[in-house]
């Protein structure tokens, strides 16, 4: 069976959890023939994974740089003004009734993009005129800063780049599997419309939620931001409604998916998994009471809170150590500098050490008596389930699917709260019996629920049902994410 897998900014061009997951799925299903459609920013990006043998082709979809050279040549048909107007109208109208019309317009645009140059139509003076006039008609009564021509040009330009995936020939297969919502579903939608391919959408984080967070503080003026996010909201809602099956990486994400109109019966949560062979149970603990952290050095991991929490731990338990394993991605080096400076300011520069990338990640879990996760946003973090598989208990922030992963085998604390995080760490560091009991329970839980084989079996099942055109059997009812809280939630008392 052939599967077209669509990614955006991840596999096989980037590192990180989503890419690891793609690699696991493809390698774990050698019986399937995978065709990759990878959306990347520019042509400069390079493949950083060695592609398994069952990847038979890859299309690199570029969002930036000059529009498809050669591809657009010979396509003289102009984008109909009516279509352009309807697109602008559906994007400026935020009412729920317009959603089906957006789907129709996008489908027409997708068909047009195979005949004429969509980029030329969207980057035209006509398009700028349409948007600026539509804005003027709607703006008079709002009393907000009026959109300028620069806003109109910028908004249309963003839309043009966002819709570039539609100008590539759809990749034919038995199933389209978008490994993200948003721009990543554009090639899956085009393939569905052209070849009738069933569509599967997997989300590790919530795409739309990340879009909101990214655009909160600029660089765009409000009218551009509203237009762009309006497009993203419509697109994500379309991705959910057109998908035959949606597989979030955790139950927590369901809330957003259902909020945006996903049919609950089409949602099936599939947790990430690790290969237990790579993470055998750890024997023994470091002599010094050590806390271990593993991940990318990135603001989203909120290392400031971790360092502040550790300074409180250190105050109570001067022999305690914090070891951080991982390196900043390109462009995030200043964040590492900031964290180092903060550690020095807090007087823990000697006992909280940044150790960089580690060859065998299991050694990082071995280095700590407990593992801690301080992120402000997560999907279903690998570091957590890896640590659990090794038999380490953890203190982790209550974000994304963390409570679902940890269950009652560790401590879950609210994000951005150094005091509670410190309290959790001290509790576990001081009580060896509790720590060992939770560590053993964590390993049992991980082996039962979060193995890579489990995830692969589920996708094997989903693929065969979708490929055969049969509806997926109804999934067992999933627990509400909120009910899966950790054993000790010190902040519960405070709420």
């Amino acid at each position: 069976m052939k599967v077209a897998m669509m990614t955006e900014g991840t596999y096989p061009f980037g590192f990180g959890g989503v890419s690891v997951w793609c690699d696991q799925i493809i390698r774990g299903m050698p019986g399937y023939d995978f065709r990759l459609v990878a959306i990347v920013a520019t042509d400069a990006e390079q493949v950083v994974w060695s592609l398994p043998d069952n990847v038979s082709s890859m299309v690199k979809v570029l969002l930036w740089g000059p529009p498809l050279a050669g591809h657009a040549a010979g396509r003289r048909e102009a984008l109909p003004l009516r279509l352009l107007r309807e697109l602008v109208d559906t994007l400026l109208d935020s009412s729920a009734e317009v959603q089906p019309r957006f789907g129709d317009v996008l489908r027409e645009l997708s068909e047009f993009a195979q005949r004429g140059s969509l980029s030329a139509g969207l980057a035209s003076e006509k398009a700028v005129r349409l948007l600026s006039e539509a804005w003027r008609d709607r703006w008079s009564d709002t009393g907000q800063p009026a959109p300028t021509l620069h806003d109109a040009v910028t908004a249309m330009q963003l839309l043009e780049h966002s819709l570039r995936p539609l100008s590539y020939p759809p990749v034919q297969a038995d199933i389209g599997h978008a490994v993200t919502n948003g721009l990543g579903v554009l090639p899956a939608l085009a393939a569905k419309w052209q070849y009738g391919m069933p569509m599967l959408v997997t989300e590790h984080g919530v795409y739309l939620r990340e879009q909101y967070l990214q655009n909160r503080r600029g660089p765009y003026r409000w009218p551009v931001k509203a237009f762009h996010l309006g497009f993203m909201r419509r697109l994500c809602a379309l991705g959910y409604s057109e998908a035959e099956t949606i597989t979030p990486g955790n139950v927590y994400n369901r809330r957003w998916e259902e909020r945006l109109g996903a049919e609950p019966k089409r949602i099936r949560t599939v947790y990430n998994g690790v290969d237990p062979a790579n993470f055998p149970a750890l024997t023994g603990e470091p002599e010094v009471p050590t806390i271990s952290w593993v991940g990318r050095i990135d603001p989203i991991k909120d290392l400031e809170t971790l360092l502040r929490a550790f300074s409180l731990v250190h105050h109570e338990m001067p022999e305690a150590r914090l070891r951080l394993f991982g390196s900043p991605p390109k462009g995030r080096e200043p964040y590492l500098q900031r964290c180092r400076a903060l550690a020095t300011d807090l007087g823990i520069g000697e006992v909280a050490t940044f150790e960089g990338r580690i060859e065998n990640i299991r050694d990082a879990y071995d280095a700590g008596r407990i593992v801690v996760l301080s992120s402000v946003s997560e999907g279903f973090p690998y570091s957590l389930i890896e640590a659990m598989t090794c038999g380490r208990t953890c203190v982790a922030t209550d974000v994304g699917g963390v409570t679902e992963a940890v269950g009652d085998t560790g401590l879950v604390v609210p994000p951005r709260n150094p005091a509670l995080m410190a309290q959790g760490c001290l509790t576990l560091l001081r009580d060896a019996e509790l720590r060992h009991r939770l560590g053993a329970a964590a390993r049992t839980r991980a082996l039962e629920n979060f193995t890579v084989d489990g995830a692969i079996n589920t996708f094997d099942e989903i693929y065969s049902f979708l490929g055969a055109g049969r509806p997926l059997p109804t999934a067992p009812p999933e627990p509400d994410a909120d009910d899966q809280s950790g054993e000790l939630l010190p902040w519960d008392a405070a709420v």
Binding site: T148, H150, A226, L229, T305, R416, D482
Partner: protein, 500 residues
């Protein structure tokens, strides 16, 4: 989760409750959630988020990002979930979006750079009269024309390829490409000279001069694309200083070999320094190189699409060189290498390219400001055209000032004895300069075919009417200026052209 594919800033916002500020006190604080218990207070805390939100979902994402869960919201505020709380907050707080922080102005560059460029374009002019001894004999004119056309075309194409690759954020690969391109280009110039030698019987010194000219152009292009203009001053120093001293001393024959040596040093330095610089940027020199450290396989050096894209640049280089050379070459007996009067008239044009660069930047900044201050397309297009007219006028004024200065200096040093017959030649170059300014402007705004075609037609007409001399050139160049300026006014009056 995923690497950003859309260009947005990705710093998480500061913590609204102000955890980030204040003195660090290392005490185990009571485990109390600092969030307010009242929705109104929560609105105050999140006021910036609420005022700038495009819809309630944006507030939901901010609340969740701050650590609020459905469970906490139910207990604390008695609403069903985070989404319901966000809708309530969206209702309570009216929209009053804050203007984003202004981005750094990419066109804010020092005036020194364009001025330096102008100087760098103009300085080599001095070398031609000094090399007169090399440029004697049959076929010299063909050598010079072929050398100039080839090296202009190749260096324009090379610059295009380098800038395209740099624009993709791949500096090491861009440097590698420039290095390979420079080597290939030099081979190309040598081949062109060899073919010329076969067709026309030429003396070896003239051929060597032609190769040197091409090598200098290619090396200079690499250094400019890599932003190493200052090294170019080092490159030019021996040739230009040597020539200047030689000319000022009245071309003493005993210094002839010395000045030829100095002239030879310039292209050799250009190739050497450019190669060194490019190799360093490519990571081929020094500590292992960036690429080697990341262990990634490099992207393809050259793709067909880029090569196709470079064709208009090469064509424009060819045509522009033709337009510049023609007035110098026309009306000369075939054995004579240079026409001092016309050469001198071309010097202000070369210098004025610095002014052209500066006015191009000025035009960008003005129109960007205009785009941000205008709501109507009609108003924008009228004003943008006025800005264009002002830019062109300022450029022409600067070019004329330079012409006057050059003639005054040349008269003072007795290089020429000014005569009114020089005036039409200067007028030709002024018109040509204005035309080139418009062509550069159009190219900078992504319109490459029209200027190429217009210039090619003008060149063809000039070649066809070469018997008619300067008056024909003046008519053609003026028409070219008018056509290009008119087209620029048409194209650059569109708002969409100013997207960047």
């Amino acid at each position: 989760m995923s690497a950003p594919t859309m260009p947005v800033r990705r710093e998480p916002p500061p913590h609204p409750s102000g955890n980030g500020a204040g003195p660090e006190v290392a005490t185990a604080a009571p485990a109390e959630d600092p969030r307010p218990r009242d929705v109104e207070e929560l609105c105050e805390q999140f006021v910036l988020v609420c005022e700038s939100a495009v819809d309630p979902l944006e507030i939901s994402s901010a609340l969740e990002f701050d650590g609020l869960s459905d469970q906490a919201v139910r207990k604390r505020y008695g609403v069903s979930d985070v989404f319901a709380l966000a809708e309530e907050m969206y209702r309570r707080v009216p929209r009053r979006p804050a203007e984003p922080e202004p981005l750094p102005d990419p066109w804010r560059v020092s005036k020194l750079r364009p001025a330096l460029h102008g100087l760098l374009y103009g300085l080599p002019t001095v070398c031609f009269p000094a090399a007169a001894g090399l440029l004697a004999g049959r076929g010299v004119l063909s050598v010079l024309i072929v050398a100039l056309l080839t090296s202009w075309a190749l260096s324009q194409a090379l610059a295009y390829l380098g800038y395209v690759r740099l624009g993709r954020g791949d500096a090491p690969q861009a440097a590698r490409l420039l290095l390979v391109g420079m080597a290939a280009g030099t081979v190309g110039v040598v081949l062109a000279m060899a073919v010329t030698a076969l067709v026309a019987h030429v003396h070896i010194p003239a051929l060597v001069f032609g190769v040197g000219l091409g090598a200098y152009m290619l090396g200079a292009t690499v250094l400019m694309v890599l932003g190493a203009e200052r090294l170019l001053l080092v490159v030019l120093a021996p040739g230009v200083l040597g020539s200047a001293v030689f000319l000022v001393l009245g071309r003493p024959p005993q210094l002839e070999y010395a000045v030829w040596g100095a002239l030879a040093a310039t292209p050799l330095l250009a190739l050497g320094l450019a190669a060194g610089r490019a190799a360093r940027e490519a990571g081929l020199l020094g500590r292992g190189g960036r690429r080697a450290r990341t262990g990634l396989s490099p992207a393809k050096l050259l793709v067909a699409a880029d090569l196709r894209g470079a064709l208009p640049s090469a064509g424009f280089g060819l045509v522009a060189a033709g337009l510049l050379v023609l007035p110098v070459a026309v009306g000369l007996p075939a054995h004579q290498g240079t026409n001092t009067g016309a050469l001198l008239a071309s010097l202000p044009l070369a210098l004025s390219m610095g002014a052209a660069e500066w006015m191009l930047i000025w035009f960008r900044r003005r129109t960007q400001k205009l785009l941000r201050a205008t709501q109507e397309l009609r108003v924008f297009s009228i004003r943008a055209r006025l800005v264009l007219f002002a830019a062109l006028s300022q450029y022409l004024a600067a070019a004329m000032l330079l012409a006057v200065a050059v003639i005054a200096a040349a008269t003072e040093t007795r290089l020429i004895y000014p005569h009114w017959t020089l005036l039409p030649q200067i007028a030709v170059y002024m018109a040509l300069g204005g035309a080139m300014f418009n062509a550069l402007l159009l190219q900078a705004f992504g319109s490459r075919t029209f200027p190429l075609v217009a210039c090619a037609v003008a060149l063809a007409v000039e070649v066809a009417c070469r018997g008619l001399g300067v008056p024909a050139q003046l008519v053609v160049c003026t028409e070219l200026l008018v056509v290009l300026a008119g087209y620029a006014a048409f194209v650059l009056g569109k708002a969409v052209r100013h997207a960047c």
